[in-house]
């Protein structure tokens, strides 16, 4: 296969994604492409479907219509003879290895130390030798500035520290794509900076990232692309310097006026 074609293929491609809860449609046809190394921020008011869409990308939510392709594979399905076959949970688990996720509420394993949280994936999922995983874990904790907290349990860490451990935990799986679901929304204001700094470093290191956030300033500085979601649709999308400075859609203008 031609390598230039390979490069042009997006790492993430969502096609006409719909999601319903009962009778309520929370995603009404999302189309989004993210190429390798790109950082995309999803902005918009609460209830607009941003988090739901993010959770669909690693199949924590199942889509009701449309397909999400990650690295050429349909998420949650296997494509054979033009048919999408639903995958068994253990095959979904294999797909999820290449997609890291960071949650609003950190969700660190409460009964594991910071280091054990980071090594859990490599050891129990990738069957990496424990010694090797610990070396990797210490490297990652050091990269988020928490090496000396390796032996602490989540309850002994601040929110900002927990979120940085959570990022290290996701990175330990060497993901191709990182998803962030409002990573700073549960943090005290003075702790937001340390988490955003880690994310900015990641972006500069070339990580492909999809970020649901309310931090418009961060989106402007770091993202190559921002997308505004309202009522289950992406209403406006483009480079932050255009969209944030000159929003065309009325809802985008209202939203930016209310948060800036």
């Amino acid at each position: 296969m031609n390598s230039s074609v390979e490069q042009r293929r997006p790492l993430l491609r969502a096609v006409n994604v719909h999601k319903r809860y009962g009778g309520r449609e929370v995603l009404r046809g999302i189309d989004l492409q993210v190429t390798s190394g790109e950082v995309v921020c999803l902005l918009g008011p609460s209830g607009g479907g941003k988090s739901t869409f993010l959770r669909c990308i690693n199949h924590l939510e199942r889509v009701d219509e449309g397909v999400i392709w990650v690295d050429g594979l349909p998420v949650g399905y296997r494509l054979t003879n033009g048919k999408l076959h639903e995958l068994h949970e253990r095959d979904v688990a294999v797909q999820r290895r290449s997609v890291g996720m960071v949650f609003q509420r950190f969700n660190l394993f409460a009964n594991r130390t910071a280091l054990e949280n980071v090594t859990e994936g490599p050891v129990s999922v990738l069957h990496m030798p424990k010694r090797e995983a610990e070396t990797l874990g210490r490297e990652l904790l050091s990269s988020v500035g928490l090496l000396e907290w390796a032996g602490n349990y989540p309850a002994q860490l601040s929110g900002g520290q927990q979120q940085r451990v959570a990022i290290a935990r996701a990175l330990a799986m060497k993901p191709k794509l990182m998803l962030f679901d409002e990573p700073t929304s549960a943090l005290d204001p003075e702790l937001v900076g340390e988490v955003l700094r880690v994310m900015r470093n990641l972006a500069e290191g070339g990580m492909t990232m999809v970020i649901v956030t309310h931090e418009v300033g961060f989106a402007r500085d770091v993202a190559q692309e921002v997308a505004f979601m309202f009522d289950g649709r992406i209403v406006e999308q483009g480079p932050p310097k255009d969209v944030l400075a000159h929003p065309e859609h009325q809802r985008t203008q209202q939203f930016l006026a209310s948060v800036l």
Binding site: N58, R96, F103, A110, N111, G121, V125
Partner: protein, 312 residues
């Protein structure tokens, strides 16, 4: 104080007044806990009275140690322990399976578990023991066609009947304990496990169970302590455990209370050992919550002693 015009005089005067109304304290007197002393005294007198009364009862205490270590009592002790451990093990294994069925997405599994728990919690355990023990009256053989076939009255020994009666009953309670443990684990923990590529089975084993254990162990320890004593019900179906052993002894020499006291002493020892074991298991499953508190004696002291950690 009288002059409203002269601000300086007013300030000076109120400063004087403040000095006289708020003198420097010379000593701190802690609150005396008279009520606690009175309550403690009443309790001490009550307990002393009961001890005194018992000491005047016609109990031949000298015979108790002999019964305590008699060989039939020791056999009863071993049987009690065997039965309690076997029943609790059966209860835990079946209970975990039932709890998994209860939370399963398969409605047939969920309803089956629900009905099982409904039946076994609804019938007194003594009655269950009697039902199992007398099963041979209505079911002559226990068989799976082509695999095995046994006459019921040979299979249903007192031990097997007691094991089924106590163990199946316990599994219904364990199912609810394990389910409460599963439910206590935050959903976010499960999503985090999925997000790093764990399968549901691995998530159960590595993330849910270790955390659910904290919630599961205390009531399970409670149940095991109950189980140690519930095995005494097996005496009605002629299983030689501690109470049956005591009965054997006193039917021979009519020292009823003495023989029962010897059995009671063994139960107390077993329960105490089980409680200590439970404490250590709980600690092992809560690596992030390990605490060492003050002992009982020092807690009584601090509660009765007037104390204030301050100086004047």
């Amino acid at each position: 104080m009288s002059s409203r015009d002269d601000d300086a005089a007013l300030t000076a005067a109120s400063a004087d007044a403040a000095v006289s109304a708020e003198p420097d304290p010379v000593e701190v007197v802690p609150l005396r806990h008279w009520g606690r002393w009175v309550a403690a005294a009443i309790l001490v007198v009550l307990v002393a009275g009961i001890v005194f009364g018992l000491s005047r009862a016609q109990i031949n205490y000298g015979n108790v140690p002999g019964f305590f270590s008699e060989s039939v009592m020791l056999t009863g002790l071993v049987h009690t322990l065997e039965l309690a451990i076997a029943c609790q093990a059966l209860g835990i294994v079946l209970g975990t399976i039932l709890a998994t069925m209860r939370v399963s997405a398969n409605p047939v599994a969920s309803w089956t578990a629900w009905a099982y728990i409904w039946i076994f919690r609804g019938v007194p355990v003594l009655l269950q023991l009697l039902l199992w023990y007398n099963l041979a009256l209505v079911v002559k053989t226990i068989a799976i066609p082509g695999l095995f076939s046994f006459p019921t009255n040979e299979v249903m020994s007192p031990f097997v009947a007691a094991l089924l009666g106590l163990g199946l009953n316990e599994s219904a309670y364990m199912a609810e304990i394990v389910r409460a443990g599963f439910n206590s684990v935050d959903k976010g923990q499960i999503e985090a496990a999925y997000a790093i590529g764990m399968t549901p089975r691995k998530t159960l084993r590595r993330v849910i169970l270790p955390q659910a254990m904290r919630v599961i162990i205390p009531p399970t320890g409670n149940d095991f302590i109950n189980m140690l004593k519930e095995t005494s019900l097996a005496s009605v179906i002629a299983y030689l455990e501690l109470v049956q052993a005591a009965t054997n002894i006193y039917s021979r020499n009519l020292q009823v209370i003495e023989a029962l006291l010897a059995a009671a002493a063994w139960y107390m020892i077993l329960v105490t050992l089980a409680s200590i074991g439970q404490h250590y298991i709980e600690q092992a499953f809560s690596p992030d919550r390990r605490t060492t508190g003050p002992g009982v004696l020092s807690r009584i002291q601090t509660s009765l002693r007037p104390s204030l950690n301050r100086s004047v």
